[in-house]
Symmetry: C3
Subunit: 140 residues, 3 copies
């Protein structure tokens, strides 16, 4: 267990434009607004979207893509740093026209139809992601 | 990209009563507590529930209903204004007895069995929803 | 409807270690950090995980277990007290290698592969869970 304590929140609500790449737009937004640490939530819909599953043995992401309109039923993530750059780690759950849900790691290439988000900024320590031997992932 | 900046959060935790309509109860609660802008999260269970999928071409919501007990596996939304009234936009993920998830736009008519919620109130600008040509939706 | 009002948030971001029991680790963490009331969000992956469905008639939880790596696509919960002890009530959505989602009540025995969490602590009243006749659950 490792943790960081913060206080003094500033909250940013916003929406992406149709056609924006969800992950890179949110990342650029946080970088531009100097959000070094924070928590992200969002809802909306995508024109296409991809979710990643991390294979614990092979240590690679397996991707599943949906080339159709899907609801963003849930999107949760955080903002911290990796290699000194603003880095967002988000998971998303997409729902198809029958409501069926598909989720995992939010992949770049997921394109917004409409997306309303909240970024809660945190002031205090600055978690940095580094390679973790136990998982093969870049963790705090 | 469009956004609003806030500070000075007040947080309200509560629970709905069995039989309450989830969306209209949360909306009335926010109106009654003068929450003009905020972020909503919840968990619990419903006696019946509906999720909406917005058809990007036809620009209408397709509804899927479940007339049985379902878990509220996730509920995320926000509070702002539309036509000068308190307006909640929420997405929900419902899970059936085998855990299978169905999600989308939270529909009125979804009835609580038990529901614990958090409303983080935000102080600052007051986003107002207006018609967006690119999507056909009422957006900030 | 019943609710509690809070202000003065302190936020804790952290991560679990591979092999940690998700629910009991988060509970111990909150108890250790004197978080008496709060809201929890998380994402990550599990080595195995279980979700519960509360049968409204039989008033027992039906469990579904997954003995394989799954993404934590969403985790939402709260911290309060039950029988005078720190008590977390969390719902989780797990996604398999094809992205398919299974959700419900987070069960003890769910083992972290990697898990990043946020605990927003709340200062004010102290909700206590007591038996609710209408549902058979321990509610505020």
């Amino acid at each position: 267990m490792k943790f960081f304590e913060f206080d003094g929140q500033r909250v940013l609500l916003g929406r992406l434009e149709r056609g924006d790449d969800v992950l890179s737009s949110l990342t650029e937004f946080c970088a531009h607004e100097s959000v070094t640490v924070g928590w992200v939530e969002a809802l909306g819909a995508v024109e296409r979207g991809g979710v990643g599953y991390y294979d614990h043995e092979a240590r690679v992401y397996r991707e599943t893509w949906f080339d159709e309109g899907m609801e963003i039923a849930s999107l949760t993530g955080n903002v911290s740093s990796k290699d000194g750059e603003t880095f967002l780690h988000c998971h998303v759950i997409l729902a198809d026209r029958d409501g069926r849900c598909f989720g995992g790691h939010l992949l770049e290439g997921t394109v917004a139809f409409a997306c309303e988000f909240s970024v809660t900024t945190l002031t205090g320590p600055r978690p940095e992601r580094t390679h973790d031997e136990a998982t093969g992932l870049a963790l705090w």
